[in-house]
Amino acid sequence: MSTLTIIYATVFYAATALLLLGLGYKVYDYSRTPAPLKIPTTPAPTTRAGVVYRLAKETVVFESLFKSNKWIWLFGWLFHAGLFLVLARHLRYFTQPVWFWVDIIQPFGKYASLMMVVGLAGLLARRFVVDRVRYISTPSDYLMLVLLLFIGLTGMLMTFVAHTDIVALKAFFMGLMYFDVQPVPADPILLAHLSAVALLMVIFPVSKLLHAPGLYFSPTRNQVDDPREHRHVAAWAARLEETR
């Protein structure tokens, strides 16, 4: 086995472990932290089903962002929807036989990369152009967009310009999944693409990418508006009642 393969296999095992453990810990930490008061941003749903619908709208069409700012919404939604299709398309490299719906979306997934890159470019441009957004941007905000653009562009390069040995790549990842490591193709564009993806996986649980799980734990969005009908008391707050 080549050194290159050993390095990439190790990197992907480590990145996957950090992503899952880090994200798992964060989700555990959010769920064990109490929300002592009812603070849904109203008007809010009065039923659990309503809350599910509210969160579904936030997830799929970014409802609040749409109300807020059409440009951020447009670029943000293009990027996320593009990324979703691209990721779905990538499932073909991790499944054998390939699931039928993954086959169906292949062409969409290919061109979705364009949506993704356009969205990212728009978001990056806003950081330079809009004085308010420039004021709040930290170096990591720019670098995160650059990293995602790099992943998108190297991917597009392999899809549309310089095809990589995709059969060998699939063998590599299937090998990783079944603990039977196969050689990684030594294509520089592919290796750059994979390195950036591994980096993204590692920083996910320690960065603002936590907005993904965060949405579902946000009390202003996930609480039912029923405080007059149901008494809501956190464990630490209930202890105050024992002294009185």
Partner: protein, 506 residues
Amino acid sequence: MAADVEIPEVKDFIEIPKIKPGAMAHAKSFPAGKDVQEFLGYPYELVDDWEARAVEKMGDLLGKYRSLKVFLDACVHCGACTDKCHYFLGTADPKNMPVARQDLMRQVYRRYFTPTGKLFPKLVGAKALTREILDDWYSYYHQCSECRRCSVFCPYGIDTAEITMAGREILNHVGMGQKYSNEILAKVQRIGNNLGLPGPALEDTLAGLEEDIEADTGVPVKLPLDVKGAEVLLVTPSADFFSEPHVESLIGYAKVFHAAGISWTLSSHASEAGNFGLFNGNYETMRKVAMRIRDAALDLGVKRIVVGECGHAWRVAYSFWNTLTGIGYGGDDPFSIELQKQLDHNYPQPQHICELTNDLIKAGRIKVDPSANDDLVITFHDSCNVARASRMGTEPGGQFTIPRELIRAVANNYHDMDPDTIFESTFCCGGGGGLLTDDLMDVRIKGALPRVTALTAVVKEHQVNFLALICAICKAQFTKVLPKYGFDMSMVGGIHQLVSKAIKLD
């Protein structure tokens, strides 16, 4: 201070200003003194180990409040909130953009509580706590009215109010309390209301009002105090007893109870609906202040608890009273049951006075003559905490429809302001959340700009001459600030001031 404040120019539309860093850095609310701070259990001057204590308190709050933890992690700096805060729109100070206000705390959170902030502080904008940062907190956490407008527009629902509350709580713990809010918190606990009005004075005031009403209408409308066995306990902001135009609404409530034949009482022990514990983010204080209402309800044996026109009070009453004091339904613990078995389950508990009056009019139990308000062309300002932190009625959005239904029932001429400035998108009056103090007059005047802009438009287009309100703070703020923009302060008043004029007492 107000004399040298530049009054912003009112344009036809609300304009997003170019940022002016440091524009409001000078705004510093007066610090709380020794007596109040000690009463509330806080140090009264900056403690020596402020850094350690602040970080420890932040850790404590992060463990108790999921909102704080998630909100400090989730922000992606997208910028959606940057043009949503009335204080930013009025001052152009970038630290009044919600995200920047949050970042004042987020930078410290990242440094002490996240791996990236510990390892790469510059990269992620993490900073160790300094005196300068503490001063920034004091300045800018007292330029936030906790109105939650930003939380409507944030894709993750990040509510800057939660950060501001935590910030003020930490500041209190290191000895940097705010005079205005903390003095009120001491007064309400020592005397029973925010104005520091003792029981006998309250009795006198109510007797005087009864005489006024009878002289005016010929009907002996009563304002009962501490009457055991009354059906309704009315809890209202203490400004209703004293201030203009607040008192006109109090007269309105009294007339409604009289006309409907509902026995009711005020309480000298709980002569205040407002709960400034909310503003400081201290659960225990908020609970102690709210507990007065439970005690009064149990003591007087009332069957219903109704809340007068007060925005933040209604948030605490509607959203938190059940949690804090068991005023509400659904609790199966002895603490809750003790009160529940006394309450009339045919009514929501607590109930907003607008819900009560509107229901009575719809049921035909009180009669009104809307033409009594024909001299007025009315618009309605949705109070921030009613709009975005509470509800009325049984349907989501009842907090918007019920007050409007009520106005239209008692008056004939009504026009809404720009749709982007009402309902859930309403702007704060500029004086909410503990900022209603003269030492912040500059902030208050500038923060009112978006609302004044929308008001000016309906005044021009529809000759609106009355701004209807359901919040004691809104009433006090607009009475003071609208004249700076050239409006007459008499154009401000409560919805029950309109009810008072239209209601038929015979």
